[in-house]
Structures are given as structure tokens and as C-alpha cells.
Symmetry: C2
Subunit: 415 residues, 2 copies
Amino acid sequence: MTTRSPYSMLSVEDALDITLAQAHTPAPVHRPLSDVRGAILAADIAAREPLPPFPASTMDGYAVIAADGPGDYPQIGEVSAGALAAFTVKPGTVAYITTGAPLPEGADAVVMIEETERLDAAADTPRIRINQQSKTGANVRQVGVDVEVGQTVLAAGERLDPAEIGLLATAGIIDVPVFPRPKVAVLSTGDELIEPGESLGPGQIRDSNRAMLLAAIRAVGGEPVDLGISGDTQEALELRVHRGLTQADILLTSGGVSMGDLDLVKPLLEHAGTVHYGRVRMKPGKPVTFATADVERGRRLVFGLPGNPVSSLVTFYLFVVPALRKMAGWQDPHLRQVKARLAQPLPLDAYRPEYHRATLTWDADQACFLAASTGIQASSRLLSMRTANALLALPQREGTMAAGELVDALLIGDL
Amino acid sequence: MTTRSPYSMLSVEDALDITLAQAHTPAPVHRPLSDVRGAILAADIAAREPLPPFPASTMDGYAVIAADGPGDYPQIGEVSAGALAAFTVKPGTVAYITTGAPLPEGADAVVMIEETERLDAAADTPRIRINQQSKTGANVRQVGVDVEVGQTVLAAGERLDPAEIGLLATAGIIDVPVFPRPKVAVLSTGDELIEPGESLGPGQIRDSNRAMLLAAIRAVGGEPVDLGISGDTQEALELRVHRGLTQADILLTSGGVSMGDLDLVKPLLEHAGTVHYGRVRMKPGKPVTFATADVERGRRLVFGLPGNPVSSLVTFYLFVVPALRKMAGWQDPHLRQVKARLAQPLPLDAYRPEYHRATLTWDADQACFLAASTGIQASSRLLSMRTANALLALPQREGTMAAGELVDALLIGDL
């Protein structure tokens, strides 16, 4: 038993460790091949047949017996892809063959068409001049040369991108064992919020966080569930939190995690489950809150994200994305990290490590990433996330980092 | 008028230039905010209101008149987010305020709650001890500090990722002007092909390319259209090519572009439109063919991709992806390129530049990308695309590149 208060200040690293310790990968499911892109494979896939399953020509040309050598030979038939030859190539004969077609019995090599001449095309049995000495096996893909029977073509834990989907198709796996995509519900809280399509009344602002988080969830492979906006009353909030816990694996609330007495989210989470942390030494995002709640169908993760849009999205990437990836079966759920050279000097914060929004581009001359700040980093200023594809992990200390210094950059978008 | 035969050998660079010259960005459409992730914005978006639209507290605390200074003051009311105060803060009074709430009239600063004491909470009008001297504007977000009225919050040509979607929501734009996602139809050709779920008969192989390409189209932001498998007859092929040209902006055929007389795709493309190239100096992918066809609704791009799965996917990334991006409105449609250090020596090809499949990982010690080959690079061996996130552009020359040498890497997947 720890005696730490959930509201004592944690480092980002400790908070992430606590988060990942609570994120469990559920049992695998089977999904159709057309619906597994981006999912993690839950079982090794072994080939049940060799590839190619028959010796196949890699060229358009003539199936020959290599030992026959150059010379003029009767063409005794032709074989194209998808058809089996009804004849045998005997010494002193050749057969026309197309790319991908099975090598006919008797033949042991293919001479490409450019090395041949068709001598009397009009005849019933045309004669073919072979100008090249072949070696046995020339221009033939032997059975199993690409994939042997029993070979593991994909291993549990691999992510299914287009090539891996092609390999599953080749192996005849159309019902694929994968870890399910985590469902992530998003609830915005606050009496001041209206829908993006509504006109502003006095004291109101449009809810930007929900549309943003729903898009972000989809971008990182989760399945979003929209819980709408809840006003600041306990009943409204409880109803939607309950719906979220029932319908999703992860619940995100956005807003309502600072210190005032209208802050209903924290007490609700304390009541519904266990609050693991509620203050993290970081800028922005300090009030981010993490709880778990056990419901009938299992343990749910709940993140109380700050209401400021930048804080909300930064804490989403730093804590929710790794948790979501672990639940989706990723073997390394952390954000990818590279080094980048600062394009301009950046002031540091003496009290908190800062996650400075930046756009990384590849500098071909210096052969390194260049990190350009997105400008004023106020946590309410969503413009500081515009075009950002990285969070620069700036150290907590006094002073400034100089232009040209190398800094750790966490990737949050495409390069 | 050029007299170049479409089947003379081109460099990859020339072929790509020819492709991009034919790829046009269609007229913008309007799509709902929930459906624009990854799309390119087609018009500048200017803010119609300032953000915040009212002076807002950044803290839970007390709205004060800064000039009053520290002391004990009566609390004359409270104001929370989403509500307007029905009172004015007069000199010598304070009002309770929560984060995000509009600053009440009369007040010009907020003192955070930690710097105050509530002296007689039970009284009708509690008295509040203010322990801090404020400056005018302290803990208040002024009107328009994050976004000014008329400011361009997003510009035409920007990609709509989660933060940009949040900005659109803030600006009240729920009907978003974007360039439409290109529709890309995929047709596999070949009598030898069967569906991935079927049992192999003699001479047959499973169609891996279609499932792979459909997944790849979705991964790069296109809208896939599945045209199935066509057998090697002119009628079957024409029917499906016609369907593809009608339903999609880009048509991909996979298979049937080498030199045999069962190769029906090239004559069909010559008949249906203009073949721009049919041979490219590259390994793999040499027979890749590009044509355009004018139909009622506009010009279509048609790519005849080679049947070998690796050739098919490599030419998809090198030619189809940039064309698709240009049609989707991307300002720079090229694949992103970085430098990587070879993890092992790689043999070069004296006759063709090679696009060697590799997995890039970030080497934290050397602060650079390390490129590990995916192994045997046969164009039929789809295993060489497994886990590949980059194509190494190996120069055309004799010999070997040594381990540790820097090589250009084109990104085709997540890092």
C-alpha cells in the first residue's frame, strides 16, 4: 500500500509508468482481412502451402530442357498462367510459356523471348530458334523459394500494414486473429461550452476539444465514441461518465480538472474508481488526472484531461496514446523519439519540463531534423499545435537553449 | 509533339514528372467537420470572433480591482464558466470566479485561490482575505489574445490533422472546404489468380496484391474501390477497366504488364487513352505503365502495376502516392526523404537504381537513422516488404555500399 496522495506532484515518467501498468491488452478477436489495417497480429501465421506452389516461369518465353542447348526446335504447345500443361516437354522440343505460368513437366528452364526467334509462325507446329544456352532452373521460380511450407510469415505482435495484409492474403488468412481496437469515449465538460456549429452567446465558447480528440483517437488507431457536452451538474456528468464506462475501454473527459468547487470530475472519479494521479510536473498539462474504474466487463481507464485545448492534446499524446497502444497490443507503446536541432533559441522553465510544440523537417544539408517552434506556447493557444508534428522535451532548468542545440523530440504526427 | 515511344526506358525522376504533370487537383467540396481528417483545406479560414470572446479568468480565485491591494474584502458574488455576472465589482469588493469564467464588470485582475483565505464562510456575505498585490490583467486572458478577429487561423493548402480540426471547431466551421479524397480503383488481372479465401488448385496462386493495394490506398488517404479479379480475356478486362474509369479518379491494374501475347492491359490502355510510359529504369518495377484516359467526368490516371507483389507496392509508393497526393491538394506531393546509415553492406545494381526495402529505426547513440535491410530483395518475395518503412534509393553502379554509409531513404510507413 502506498500512502502517496494521488494529488502529489509526479514526474511525467512516473505518471506514464503508472498509466501503462494499468493498461492491459484484452483477449484477441477475429476480424476480416479487409478490416485489420493498423491492428496488431495476435498469433503467429505459418504458411500452409509453399510460394510459389508450383515451379513458375519468371519470363515470357520458351520452356526448354537446358541440356538441349541452342538450336531449332518444334513448339509442342503453350502454357499460360492459371493453366496446367496437358503435355510433357520431351528432349528436342520446347513450349511457349508466359510469366507466372507453371513450368510444364519435362522442362527445366525458360529462355526469355528476346533470346528466341519464331521461324515459321504460320505452321501448325511452329519451329523456334533458341539462341541461348540455359542452365537448369534459369528463369524459373522454384517451389517454396519465396515462402516455404510451415515458415512463419508473420509473428504475433507485428502491426498489419499493407505489405503484411498482402502476406495474409497470400497465406489464405481472411479471418485474422488481432487485438481489438480500443474504444475511446470523449466527454467535454463545462457550462460555457456550445457545439462548434452554434452561435456564441455571452460567456460562451465553442467546444474545440471534442472534435479534436475524436479525430486524434481515429488517427492513432482507436475507435472514438462521442459522449457530447455535459453541463456542470453532478447528475448530467454522472450519467455520461456511466455511459462512457459502459461503452468504451478508455474514457476521456476534457475540462473540469483544476481546483475550483465547480470541479466535479475529480470527486466523481474518486467515487467511481481509483484516482492514481492528479498532478504532473509538466508544462502544459499539470492538472491531468488518471483513474481506473472496474465495471462488469472489465477495468476501464479514465483520463481527466485539462480543458485548455493545448493541454488536452499534449496530455492525450503523452499518456493516452501509449495506454491505447498497449491495449491495442503494441509491443513498444511509447511515442517514437528522435533528436532534432533547434531552429531558434527557446526559453526554458525552471519549475517544469516543457513539451514545446514544433514542426520537424529534414534538413538535407545537415542530414538531421530541424525543429521550428510553432510560436507562443500559451496552453489556451491552439494555434501552437497547428502543423506541429513533434513535442520537444525541454529540460526543467533556468535559462535558454541555444539555436542549433540538439533536443529530444517526441513524434506526434507525420513528418 | 514528342516522338519518344512510350516504351522507351525512362528514369524514375522523368517518369514521376510526367505522372505529376497529368495529376490535377479537382474543384473543392464541402465536407462535415467529422469527416475531414487528413484532407487538405481548400480556402483560408479567418476568425469571425476573437478568442477568447470575453476577458476570461485563467484561475480559480477572486476577481479583484488590482489597485485595492491586499486586505479583507466582502465577496459580493460569484461567477462561473458559462454564466455572466449580474453584478459589478466595485472598489473594496471581490467576487469568486472559476477558471474560464468571464471577468465581471469592474474587476481587472484575478487573485488565485491559494493566495486568499475565506474568513467567515458561514456569513451571508463572506469576507475574503487577499494576500497578494495584483497587477492589472493578472490571471486574465484578454479578448482576442489567442485569436484576433479576422486573423487567418488556417490557410488553404494545410492538412487537417487533429489540432487543425480543433481550430475549425473553435472558429465555428462545421462545413469545411476541402479537396475531395481521390477514389482509387484496383483491378487484379490474371487467370492464375484466386481470392485469398479460396483453396489453391493446380497452377493457381492467391491474389495478394488487391488486398494489399486497397489497404495502402486507405493508408495514404485515398478512397479504395475494389474491382475484383479479371481473367485474361479482352471482354472481361474491358468491362472492369470501363467500370474503374467511371467510378474512380485513378485506376490501378495489377499484373499483365510484361511482354507476352496474353498481355492485354497495354493494348487496352493504348486504345482507351494515351500511354505516357511503359518502362522505367528501376529495380523492382521496370514494366510499370502509366496512361491517361478522358471520360465524361474528366481525365483519369491509369497505372498498370507489375504483377509481382513487391514491384506492385514499390511502384505504388513511387508513382501512385505522389499523384494521389497532388490530386488531394497536397502542396508537396513527394515522398518524404531522409538520410540513413546502412546497418549492413548492400550490393548495387550496375544497370538500374534499386529501391531496397528497409526498416529505419532511430539510433539514439549516433543521433541518426539506421537502415536495416529486409533481406532477399526478389520482386516476388513480399516478405521483403514486411516491416519495411522506407525504400533506400541505391545508386545505379557496380560494387557495394559499405555498412555505415549514408543513403537516401524514402519514407513509406510510420517510423
